[in-house]
């Protein structure tokens, strides 16, 4: 098995997202938890507390708390986000783990959304936001493919969340890397090269300095 840069599974993004701090309303009594992540509690019934999402979900699994949804996950807020996303060319600033936290809460704390209809609306809005942002990303990279002008401008992707970047990583890094290699200015500066098959030193093709290699081989003869 060889190392492939940027190979991060979605489950790992969810793992990172579980460190997001959320508010819970516990229905149990617990003294202060002195954790590596920080000190949380003490917990008393009906007194809201801030905790990491992984801890909130562990309590939720045992039916020991309800989770107060982040304000950005309400139907009104998501509708505003969707409208802004459709209206503006730039990407809206979202919390870093927007999609992962929403997905985890919808999956594991669905009853905290109030009723099934609200949860369904939230799901629909999230899918719409994701689609609109994905369409914007496609448009950005289509412009990269059409010409080198503005390559820098369209590669500034302010507002994208890590998991969105991960979804386009293979395609984007591959095509941008190829564009970089094909740049005439760069070609003119480089010495004649010979490409070896990919895989000799990782994913990328190795470039052999012909003259130096030939000189060494001559010496050996």
């Amino acid at each position: 098995m060889s190392f492939v840069p940027g190979d991060i599974p979605t489950a790992e993004y969810e793992f990172f997202a579980e460190n997001t701090i959320v508010m819970i309303v516990p229905n149990l009594t617990l003294p202060v938890l002195e954790m590596i992540h920080g000190n949380f509690g003490p917990f008393r019934p009906l007194i809201p507390e801030r905790v990491p999402l992984w801890f909130a979900l562990a309590l939720k699994k045992r039916q020991r708390c309800s989770i107060q949804l982040p304000s950005w996950l309400g139907v009104d807020e998501l509708t505003k986000t969707l409208e802004a996303e459709r209206r503006n060319e730039r990407f809206e600033d979202l919390p870093q783990h927007f999609f992962e936290v929403a997905h985890l809460l919808l999956e594991l704390a669905r009853d905290d959304f109030g009723d099934a209809r609200t949860a369904h609306s939230v799901e629909g809005l999230l899918a719409d936001i994701e689609d609109v942002r994905h369409a914007k990303m496609r448009a950005q990279f289509a412009r990269v493919e059409l010409g080198a002008h503005g390559l820098l401008g369209v590669t500034r992707l302010r507002g994208l969340t890590p998991i969105e970047i991960n979804r386009i990583r293979t395609f984007a890094t591959g095509s941008l890397g190829m564009l970089k290699r094909l740049r005439p200015a760069e070609d003119a500066q480089t010495q004649p090269t010979q490409t070896l098959p990919a895989g000799l030193y990782g994913q990328q093709p190795a470039f052999v300095d012909d003259r130096a290699l030939q000189a060494t081989l001559q010496r050996r003869r």
């Binding site: 992540h37 801890f55 562990a58 986000t81 500034r156 970047i165 090269t193």
Partner: protein, 213 residues
């Protein structure tokens, strides 16, 4: 919309180790080992394990939550170290031939890389080069020191980088000129162009000017 903010009750080292892991996963080169950060987390895990084995009774209601957190921390540490080992396996020759890359390894990692290279060389010698006829003009066996000639001239790749502090004018390589990078910008650029921003934390000990995403 409320965006992520720092929480005073939260130990930032955990988040920093997660970011170090993501950086390591996304960077094509091996990065400097986060000695201090990993050391702190290892120490905290040890202290927590001691607490679990000592003062905390088996029936303490906090125990399952402490155990869950310990599992998460152990996984994170293992994932970080395994990613580095996988990189060393993949690029062992490159790393050992470059003093700069070699200096980024711990003593144990250097020992591992050298052992790995020896193993590969012995295997290649036993299965291929050792069986070649001496003086055969069509075969030229390169010495390990000659491998430098075969190394990628630009062992580089495009990465996504988030700018965490205003960086001023930076040449991103992909464009004709440089660009002003502001906090919050995300750029797709050659790793070599953003590497100085990524490693900027080393000098003053402060947070890095950029992280990989």
């Amino acid at each position: 919309m409320e965006i992520d903010g720092a929480d005073p009750n939260v130990n930032d080292d955990v988040g920093r180790l997660m970011q170090a892991y993501v950086n390591e996963k996304c960077a094509p080169h091996i990065l400097p080992y986060e000695q201090q950060l990993a050391g702190i987390i290892v120490e905290l895990v040890g202290l927590q394990e001691e607490k679990m084995g000592g003062e905390l009774s088996a029936s303490d209601p906090r125990r399952p939550y402490y155990e869950l957190e310990l599992e998460r921390m152990r996984w994170l540490l293992r994932a970080y170290l395994r990613t580095r080992l996988l990189k060393i396996n993949t690029h062992a020759f490159t790393i050992l031939l470059s003093p700069e890359l070699k200096s980024r390894l711990t003593a144990a990692e250097v020992e591992y890389a050298e052992g790995y290279v020896t193993l590969v060389e012995e295997h290649v010698k036993a299965s291929v080069t050792g069986r070649l006829k001496a003086g055969d003009d069509n075969c030229h066996v390169l010495a390990p020191s000659d491998l430098a000639l075969l190394l990628p001239r630009q062992h580089d790749g495009v990465v996504f980088c988030r700018i965490d502090a205003d960086a001023g004018q930076v040449d991103l390589g992909l464009s004709a000129g440089s660009a002003e990078l502001r906090r919050g910008d995300i750029v797709a650029s050659s790793f070599s162009d953003v590497e100085p921003l990524l490693l900027s934390a080393g000098a003053d000990g402060g947070p890095a000017m950029a992280t990989l995403v």
